[in-house]
Symmetry: C2
Subunit: 189 residues, 2 copies
DNA sequence: CAGAGTTGTCAACGACTGTTGACGCGTTCC
DNA sequence: GGAACGCGTCAACAGTCGTTGACAACTCTG
């Protein structure tokens, strides 16, 4: 009997996928072993190869879950507000840690997956964002905006600076908005 | 005969240290094996344990080389200019890749060294920077400045966005200065 | 010269990695 | 009933990892 779309108890495949996203996205591809994932999912290691063809296949399956990047780059007028919003509520509202920004940061360093992440950000994030922005120096403004967003994510989630981490949402929003607005104004005046 | 301070041909210890800095700082602690370093240095693997006590000791020896952090956080008036300068000419003017910012970015993710890096940045960079800045919201402005600097470093060196990478130095300086200035103005008016 | 101390070479260890194939169990289909 | 298939369990593989200790070659000291 095929599972259909009923959500009764998660299939083994889904258990693996959930555990893989949780671990890959927070610790990075090379820093997580298949046995870690299997143990977290309560499943045998060998099933990874069966369902996903291997470690790389499992990782790419977690990437396939990401909603279209265009969703992060919404209306051309409200890019700033959208950036702040997408930063706060990135993709999966589940665990606070498993969001797309964190995943990109954690895996860009990886010797095996860095190249893929790089392409994803350039072609799926920077380019469409520049297109939406339009006007003078669109590419540079888009790049600066991403620098501001990723920089803030880095300081909060990875470096965990006292001045930024664990602050009320409103304060964080104001900080991000301030830096992002400056990025978008680059080249004006 | 001890080597003294003569710089004739580098000792085995120095060969290891140089190769270790090159590799650890660009690829990250966990992504580099001692055999990689030994091969790059043209030296046997076992000598790492002899000279540095192990992998961790070798990594920490490369950190000990970093000049006082205070050098990155100079006079209180010219913090912005200093930040830009330290970003462009970070520490060791040797290889373009082996600078302190790149090293911090590459190793903050690491499961074993992340904690140490985090402490270094908080206590050695964010705190003294906030002290130098002074005034209202000093800690937050320092944190935003670091977010801007690290964000730019990330986009240029790791994500390698087309709009930022391989651009003339003057242009890069202007971009960094723009974003950093905005960070320092946070909370004003 | 004899001895001590330093320095480099080599083989091996236990632990961990991703991956594979054999095997047993249960359900489904003819 | 028997065959086919999906699904999970287990043991084992080849490879890499950091680390260790034995051994040889060398320099310096007495």
């Amino acid at each position: 009997m095929l599972n259909g779309d009923m959500d009764q108890s998660p299939s083994t495949r889904d258990k693996l996928l959930t555990a893989a996203r949780e671990l890959f996205w927070t610790r990075g591809y090379s820093n997580v072993s298949l046995r870690d994932i299997a143990k977290s999912a309560g499943v045998d290691v060998a099933l990874v190869s069966r369902y996903f063809g291997g470690k790389q296949g499992l990782f790419e399956a977690t990437l396939a879950e990401i909603p279209t990047w265009e969703a992060l780059v919404v209306d051309p007028d409200g890019v700033l507000a959208a950036a702040v919003a997408s930063f706060a509520h990135p993709c999966d509202p589940g665990t606070d840690e498993t969001n797309v920004f964190t995943m990109l940061l954690t895996n860009i360093i990886d010797p095996e997956m860095g190249g893929k992440i790089r392409c994803m950000v350039q072609r799926g994030l920077a380019d469409p964002l520049a297109r939406k922005l339009g006007g003078n120096r669109a590419e540079e403004r888009a790049a600066l905006l991403l620098a501001a967003l990723f920089g803030m994510a880095l300081m909060r989630k990875n470096f965990r600076l006292d001045a930024l981490a664990n602050k009320p949402q409103a304060e964080t929003d104001a900080q991000i908005r301030h830096l992002a607005a400056a990025a978008l104004e680059y080249g004006d005046v």
